[in-house]
Amino acid sequence: MHVSKYFAVALLTMAALPFMSSADNAGPMPTAEKGTQIKIGNFTFVPATLEVPAGTHITWINEDDVPHTVVGTDPGTPIKSPALDTDDRYATDFTKPGTYKYFCSLHPHMTGTIVVK
């Protein structure tokens, strides 16, 4: 049971990106919870690039056993987390369309992008 459930979640997550990026006239979608989480694991953000509609609440979850941060690189960025230890979460709302780049300030080779449509 568990295996098939996780498999289904993985499929949905993978499916979310192409679906949402093509949803130009979708209007306010029924809040796609599945597409608003970004996992931090093995020193990577997954997915590294995420497209969401304006107004999306995005949550990062650190699944590594070392701390990471989520910090935007643009001036005035809404992304700035404290240190996230294992299982800690950080969330913020993306209200304005645009491209938001971020990284882990502890391990700067870890980078990610949020595209808000």
Partner: protein, 309 residues
């Protein structure tokens, strides 16, 4: 470069120790003009244990309590006990960063308390775990005396030591970084020093690119090392990657140190550079300290790794 040994400006040999003694497991390297030579272990009974040595400890990660080491406080204590048990008391300690795991004041407090068991000076550089949220202000105040004292240098027994900070203002997609201000300071700091002065640079992240996929390097290290080119003996000590690695490049000998908290995988041997779990009874064999000794007749130091096993 060896001819510089005899220059009037060369290191004062009388300041250096007569003979070196090492106890415990490890490999002894002595370097001459940048070329390392393996030495046999000396018998401590034959040794006159006077002179000049120092110890590098690194990556104590006080506050870390995950599976890879539920007791990083205990292993750091054990490391300092090892330091205190050395047959030759080191002149001082260098801590090459990640003193704490999460830059918390109580973690800094615990580290300070454990280090107080060593009766001598400790010189610090921060790791990226020590500068979370405030770009190192609390760390510098706590360990360097003032938030303004980030990088610095000092002399000991004719050797010039430089503390470099490569974990501040890191840029997305980049590695460790020294930054323009620090590089300018370094150039001035080294300017005018005799080329026969042995240099020790100590910092947290490696000053050579160990493994870019894991971010193990420092973006502007090449510029820093360019300032050291005229010096016959340059020793670079770093932490961050929790394993012993050595590299020789021209006049520069790079050494990466063990952690006192947990090991990390060799480059590319795991999905990520995260803490590596080893069987509990093996943990202390992959944690350790580094004893560095300058001996007469050699411009570069002997370096001994000592595990906590």
């Amino acid at each position: 470069m060896q001819s510089n040994d005899d220059s009037p400006k060369g290191m004062n040999r009388r300041q250096l120790l007569k003979c070196a003694a090492w106890a415990g497991a490890g490999v002894v390297w002595v370097m001459d003009g940048g070329v390392p030579r393996a030495l046999k272990f000396m018998n401590t009974a034959d040794a006159k244990t006077t002179g000049f040595s120092f110890v590098q400890v690194s990556d104590s990660h006080i506050g870390f309590s995950k599976d890879a080491n539920p007791d990083s406080t205990g292993t750091f204590k054990a490391a300092i006990e090892r330091v205190n048990a050395l047959p030759q008391k080191p002149s001082f300690l260098l801590h090459t960063g990640d003193v704490s795991h999460l830059s918390k004041m109580e973690e800094f407090d615990t580290a300070k308390e454990i280090l107080s068991a060593y009766r001598g000076d400790v010189h610090y550089v921060p790791g990226e775990h020590d500068t979370i949220g405030d770009n190192g202000a609390a760390f510098f105040e706590r360990f360097n005396g003032t938030p303004a004292r980030k990088w610095y240098s000092f002399d000991a027994n004719g050797v010039h030591f430089v503390a470099l900070v490569n974990v501040l203002d890191l840029q997305a997609g980049g590695f460790g970084k020294l930054g323009t201000e620090q590089l300018e300071w370094l150039e001035k700091d080294l300017h005018g020093r005799p080329s026969s002065t042995p240099l020790v640079l100590f910092t947290h992240m490696p000053l050579w690119t160990v493994y870019p996929q894991w971010g193990w390097g420092t973006d502007d290290a090449t510029q820093a090392l360019a300032y050291t080119r005229k010096f016959g003996s340059v020793t670079v000590l770093n932490g961050h990657i929790h394993q012993v690695l050595q590299k020789v490049e021209g006049n520069v000998n790079f050494y990466s140190a063990l952690s006192t908290a947990f090991p990390q995988p060799a480059p590319g041997t795991a999905p990520s550079p995260g803490p590596m779990k080893v069987p509990a009874d093996k943990l202390r064999s992959v944690l350790g300290i580094r004893d560095v000794t300058y001996t007469p007749g050699h411009k570069s130091p002997g370096v001994v790794e000592q595990t906590l096993a």
